[in-house]
């Protein structure tokens, strides 16, 4: 392929290297060592010599072909741009419904629902633990009634909806299905995603309810149910995003995400499912951080590695089971409260990296998110950032434009290898669940987070506006406030629901769910039944808590 003789090139490279070394006395480099966040040393220059050990067809290949390093579709964005999907939701269902209508009018092409913490942890708004939290980081959903309001006027047969919900994912999915039924939309036409990734909740995000074993059962019940009834639904979004936000490196993000993925696949196979039955509906969610080329290489490495795992380890036959289809969000943890407008630029670079990495959908953060919930103006700029990349830069006119770059290919290869080593280590511990129970993954993430902070405080890592180029400023922003009366409104709605519904039917449905939970049946039909009877989220979770118990984390800090 190449018009060079490797030994001749190697000689020329060495000659060039020697001459550069000589000039370093006069013109030294900025640092004695260049290393990325994953600890991979970065060379001064990459050449065709770096690709000698990377066989093109086996490791890189063609877009749409195994191992999908260059992308999962043959034409990528020449066919259609990625889905522009901004995560949103706050206060009541009524307020969030308004925001969704606004975002759709602004040209957003998919919805992404943020739920408040009580909803994510399975408490109704009137629960004692919910005080102070109702409607704060997302919308409060207590019953099907709220879900009907949330999607009022939004045709569920035409939009795709992503829901960031994990421990109670089955319940929120059932509510979504019930709304679709009321709209007359067949379940087979529903498109969207539930996050449903409980393992990263234990290590990175914190909204767990039940212990790992019953949690894994709920996950696989959802896989089985959806493969028969909601064939277009993404049953899980295996998430590295939060692992990275919690402080991991890029390599750790890939490794821990795919290790969790392996645990889900193993659990589903153990539950009797065929890998090609549920494999095509697995989706992923990654972070796009600051180190531009490292991030692009990370996305490519994740695709290659997962394809190999599914094919070689699990014997998948359907190429769709081997594809990493993923959502990306720009890195919230890189936003600064200082000089918040700088965040627009950070987000733009991170979004560009996600696009050059071949993402299927993208959320761009708003500049004010280190301060508060995003204002409507800030959200618009964030969405415009994506539209600018799509329509004005033309980076999407060819597939994987950085493929073949000596640096990118070398880095992709290195990230793949280092992530594989981590996965091997986790395998030796008995898999991701065991590694989490031992606290291994948590400790690895914590150590990286601490190292990152130290680098900032010691000035090795520059954060513009924070430890360099500072200005005297008063940090103010146009704040979006959640109405403090949200909880009262929700409590009132709960009272009405409990009065209006057929309580005998609710109790019957909850009893049946309890029996199913104690046995081995798929829980989805029972949850669907309870939801349609207007049993509340808290009531359903309480039934499951009574059978499954609650997860007790082991708290660790320090070394």
């Amino acid at each position: 392929m190449a018009h060079f003789d490797p030994s001749e090139l190697r000689d020329a490279y060495n000659t060039w290297g020697k001459s550069v070394e000589k000039s370093l006395n006069k013109a030294p480099e900025r640092k004695t060592e260049f290393v990325n966040t994953s600890g991979i040393p970065i060379k001064r220059l990459y050449t065709p010599l770096d690709l000698e050990e990377i066989p093109y067809l086996e490791e890189i290949g063609f877009p749409g072909n195994y191992p999908f390093t260059r992308g999962i579709q043959p034409t990528m964005y020449r066919g259609r741009f990625w889905t522009m999907r901004q995560y949103a939701g706050f206060g009541t269902a009524e307020e969030s419904n308004k925001r969704y209508h606004y975002l759709l009018q602004q040209g957003q092409t998919g919805l992404s629902v943020a739920f408040d913490l009580p909803t994510q942890i399975g408490y109704d708004s009137d629960h004692e633990m919910a005080i102070g939290e109702v409607g704060k980081v997302g919308v409060a959903i207590d019953s099907l009634k709220d879900m009907e309001i949330l999607f009022d006027g939004i045709p569920l047969g035409q939009v795709s909806t992503s829901m960031t919900i994990n421990a109670p994912a089955a319940i929120l999915l059932a509510m979504y299905m019930a709304v679709a039924e009321k709209q007359g939309v067949p379940l087979s036409e529903l498109r969207g995603t539930i996050q449903n990734d409980i393992l990263k909740e234990y290590t990175s995000r914190g909204t767990y309810i039940f212990p790992p074993e019953p949690s894994m059962r709920i996950v696989t019940d959802i896989f089985a149910y959806c493969s028969k009834n909601l064939p277009q639904w993404n049953t899980i979004s295996i998430s590295g995003y939060h692992i990275r936000e919690a402080g991991s490196t890029a390599v750790q993000e890939v490794a821990f995400t795919l290790a969790n993925g392996i645990a889900y696949v193993e659990a589903a196979i153990k539950a009797g499912l065929d890998v090609d039955e549920f494999g095509p509906r697995l989706s992923f969610f990654f972070n796009s951080h600051l180190d531009f080329f490292e991030e692009i290489a990370k996305f490519r490495a994740a695709r290659r590695l997962w394809a190999k795992i599914m094919k070689e380890r699990f014997g998948a036959k359907n190429p769709r089971s081997m594809m990493v289809r993923f959502h990306t969000q720009t890195a919230g943890c890189t936003l600064t409260a200082q000089q918040p407008q700088n965040n627009i630029i950070r987000v733009a670079f991170q979004a560009l990296a996600a696009v050059l990495g071949g993402t299927q959908s993208l959320h761009t953060n708003s500049m004010d998110e280190a301060l508060c919930l995003p204002s409507e103006e800030a959200v618009q700029i964030a969405l415009r950032t994506q539209q600018l990349i799509a329509y004005e830069t033309n980076v999407s006119d060819t597939v994987d434009p950085l493929g073949g770059s000596y640096y990118i290919e070398s880095l992709t290869d290195e990230i793949t290898k280092r992530a594989e080593e981590y996965i091997k280590k986790i395998d030796e511990m008995g898999g991701a669940v065991k590694a989490i129970e031992k606290g291994f993954i948590q400790r690895e993430i914590q150590d990286s987070a601490y190292r990152y902070q130290k680098e900032i405080e010691e000035g090795q890592r520059v954060v513009v506006g924070v430890n360099k180029f500072k200005v005297a400023e008063s940090i103010k922003s146009k704040i979006l406030r959640v109405d403090p009366r949200v909880r009262e409104v929700q409590i009132q709605k709960l009272k009405e629901i409990r009065k209006e519904r057929n309580n005998a039917q609710v109790n019957w449905a909850l009893d049946r769910l309890k029996n199913a939970a104690e046995g081995k049946e798929n829980l989805m039909p029972f949850i669907f039944e309870a939801v349609k009877a207007y049993a509340t989220l808290g009531e359903i979770c309480d039934v499951l808590r009574s059978v499954f118990g609650e997860y007790q984390p082991a708290v660790t800090i320090g070394r």
């Binding site: 913490l117 633990m129 943890c333 987070a449 103010k476 403090p484």
Partner: protein, 135 residues
């Protein structure tokens, strides 16, 4: 020679918020600065935090919230400390806390709020300068 009592800190996460990167980083930095740190883990009620502070006989409570629920949980912790008759513990907070909310939090007795971008060295220094040595 009697060894000087180390400063004891309770690092606490009130509410349902699971963002614990910041508090763990700060806790580790305080430990490296020679303090004794007890971390509560996430999802603590104000009652549990105050109880732990009394049981552990701490000099400092560091609260962290990124969900916006500081407006309820922070004042509640202060109220309970007064009720339990332990108003001399130094209480500081951190997280995503809008500038506008800080005066009200300080008015109820929280000594300082540390936002995003704070150096852990500043937190160490603040504690060393403001903690009232016990016993």
């Amino acid at each position: 020679m009697e060894e000087k009592r180390k400063i004891r800190v309770l690092a606490a996460k009130p509410g349902l918020d699971g963002h614990d990167r910041g508090i763990k980083v700060v806790a580790t930095a305080l430990m490296e600065a020679g303090m004794e740190v007890i971390y509560t883990g996430i999802r603590q009620t104000p009652e549990q935090i105050v109880e732990a502070a009394i049981q552990e006989d701490v000099d400092v409570i560091g609260l962290s919230i990124l969900s916006g629920a500081h407006d309820y949980h922070f004042p509640k912790v202060m109220e309970l400390l007064k009720e339990r008759g332990v108003p001399d513990i130094l209480v500081i907070g951190g997280g995503i806390i809008p500038e506008e909310d800080i005066p009200a939090l300080k008015a109820c007795g929280i000594k300082e709020i540390f936002g995003p971008g704070t150096s852990t060295k500043d937190i160490v220094k603040f504690i060393q300068e403001n903690v009232k040595p016990k016993g």
